[in-house]
């Protein structure tokens, strides 16, 4: 606690100068981007934006899991991105069981089996995440800080390894079940229906989550535990169960994200989650760690930034850009856009 106060104090003087410099840099880049967007024309922009928002929606779903877990036990669950990939892998393996095959199914008949697929996959991912917490994090809750960080990385590597052993380094083909149509939003300008579907599903899930956290008893328990664990315990809240529930819910979202990811990109590979997780975490921090609307907003923004970078600048530098954003946010504005929900003592 004390250290955190100290850290913000030391950062303050240099931060104001860097804030100015940073603002100038961001403004400059924004101007250049705006120019290129204008030259590229509205059709291309709509496509890029659609792509960015879909990407952002997926990032948002994964970012929510990171931010909730961090808010409650102040630990980065490195394995979360791999739970996301696991969702994609698992759902892929399960598709035949639900009668979902490419080319053969489409339209309204899809909805019921897809729903079933979602539910089963989300449950599976949730159980995996709860087991991870039980095995790798809970025993180390009182150990020196370094220990759970190492097990987190270990778990991430383990999951990647298991998927690697299972399916190898290949890009697996994920059935293309989403509508291929384009939706017209302005004369001659279209956005892919796929992107809209992705955003729609993500939106539904985020709203459901926000309602749950805001209204349910468990949601209240989660918020209380995040603010002050000891006080929550004194109020009779079962901390272990609350933490497990947080992992459960986070993974539910990640599992759904994995399916959407597969449906949209039609390709998954064992190590995808590593990078996706890192970018999603960037989004969570960017929006404000521990802050649920922040994670969603951060996800969308980072997705759009990545798409614009891919579309109008150089794709090879997109990841460098995102990871640089991560470092800059953590160093100069660790509270992110919407600030930390967890109050300082």
């Amino acid at each position: 606690m004390v250290q955190r106060v100290r850290a913000s104090v030391v950062a303050a003087p240099s931060a104001s100068l860097i804030n100015v410099v940073g603002a100038i840099v961001v403004a400059y880049v924004a101007v250049v981007a705006a120019q290129r967007i204008y030259h590229g024309g509205p059709v291309y922009f709509a496509q890029t934006l659609g792509f960015g928002l879909a990407l952002g929606a997926i990032y948002a779903l994964v970012a929510l899991g990171y931010t909730m877990v961090y808010g409650i036990i102040e630990l980065i669950n490195f394995a979360h991105g791999d739970v996301f990939t696991l969702g994609a892998f698992f759902s892929l393996a399960l598709m035949p069981a639900f009668g979902l095959t490419e080319g053969k199914s489409s339209g309204i008949g899809l909805i019921l089996p897809l729903l079933g697929l979602f539910v089963v996959t989300m449950l599976f991912c949730a159980v995996v995440n709860v087991v991870i917490e039980r095995v790798a994090y809970r025993p180390l809750r009182h150990a020196p800080r370094l220990a759970p960080l190492i097990t987190a990385i270990g778990m991430s590597t383990l999951l990647e390894g298991l998927m690697f052993v299972w399916k190898g380094p290949f890009n697996l083909h994920y059935p293309d079940l989403l509508p291929e149509t384009q939706v017209t939003i302005a004369p001659g300008v279209t956005i892919a229906a796929k992107a809209l579907v992705v955003m729609g599903v993500a939106l539904v899930l985020v709203i459901a989550l926000t309602q749950f956290i805001g209204r349910s008893k468990l949601g209240k328990a989660m918020r209380a535990t995040a603010q002050d664990r000891d006080a929550a315990q004194l109020m009779g809240i079962d901390i272990n169960r609350t933490i497990s529930a947080t992992f459960f819910i986070g993974a539910v979202l990640a599992g759904a994200g994995g399916i959407i990811y597969g449906l949209y990109y039609n390709s998954v590979a064992a190590f995808d989650g590593f990078q996706y997780g890192l970018i999603a975490f960037t989004a969570a921090v960017f929006g404000g760690i521990g802050n649920i609307p922040g994670a969603a907003l951060g996800g969308l923004i980072i997705g759009v930034v990545a798409a614009i970078s891919d579309g109008y600048f150089a794709p090879a530098w997109t990841e460098v850009l995102i990871f640089s954003i991560l470092i800059f946010v953590l160093v100069f504005r660790p509270t992110g856009l919407l600030g930390m929900r967890v109050p300082e003592k």
Binding site: H142, I153, L326, V331
Partner: protein, 400 residues
Amino acid sequence: MTAIRNYLRAHIRDPNPIAYALMFLAAVFFPVVVQFATNGNGDYLVGLAADGGVYMLMAIGLNVVVGFAGLLDLGYAAFFAIGSYTYAILASAHLSVTPIGHAVHLPFWILLFIAMFVAACAGALLGAPTLRLRGDYLAIVTLGFGEIVPRVFANGGIWTGGIPGMSALDVPKLPFWIQGPWVNLPLGLTPDEFRFTSANLTAYYVLMLILITFVVILVHNLQNSRLGRAWMAVREDESAAAACGVNTVGIKLLAFSIGAATSGFAGAFYGAKLSYVSSENFGFIVSVTVLAMVVLGGMGNIPGAMVGAAVLYFILFYFLPQAPAQLEGLATSVGLGSLNHANASGWPGLGEEVSRAKYVIFGLILVGIMVLRPQGLLPSQVRKQELTHASKAELVAVAK
């Protein structure tokens, strides 16, 4: 005899000198034993051990960052890359194809120190704004850095050789070296300039042995100095250490830079021996391998890091590559030969499966060690106390 026994008793609390002595002896006799055992065909193993030395150097360096100062650096490979690329740019014909137009061929021995210095600077640059962050954030910042650096090198176009990287790097040279029966020559000094090529892997091995000894002595001195004490104090209770006059951010930065320097040092050797650098060789897998080595061997303990490096390197680069063939043979001999072949439903064959197991092994080591035996294989006495006490504290807390 009693003198030895008394010495052993005095050092029972600090078994390190014994560990060092044993390891040094083992290292000295290793090539001899190998050559005997393989009837002179041991070059491959000796070369492999020299490569393993690179990882051992990195483990020793990461141990300073993670074990001494308690900072989780997940992007350690970035400094390794910086060291290798520094060597590649300044010890090859490469610069002649860049706008500079003029190749630079600095000697290996000087470049070892230049690479170390460049990596240390990179470490200081990264560390200065980030080391005051709390542990999780620092970990992920270093992870991000570890992703950024290889990509920057890959995107560096003509300056860094782009994705294919750079090859045909200069080899280390000495005015003379020792030759002997291991290369079928009479024992003595070489008549003219000696070049470290892949024809004489024993020379690389000896060079690595000397470098490791040098680094171990220096790091050991650090551990027993006021810096080592300060690192331990900061790791235990940062606020109390600050109240006692320790500039906590400063010494964390020092640990971080020293770790980076060691990695850069190893990187230069690696680049020279391989005579090739490419950004593909510096991914997260390298960082996590070195971390697993340090955790496995015993964080905070130099012989521990060395043993962890040796054990894990042996498993990954000797045992695992051989295992598929061995396991396939075993399967056939017990009548399960059908497992050896890939089939239509996606089973890639026993051999292929085993060779993919690398990541699973890392994961199991990292999680297993931290949960079951956090002090590692060769714990420092202090760590053992710290970590067993922590699990008791947790029992007490749970019992409440």
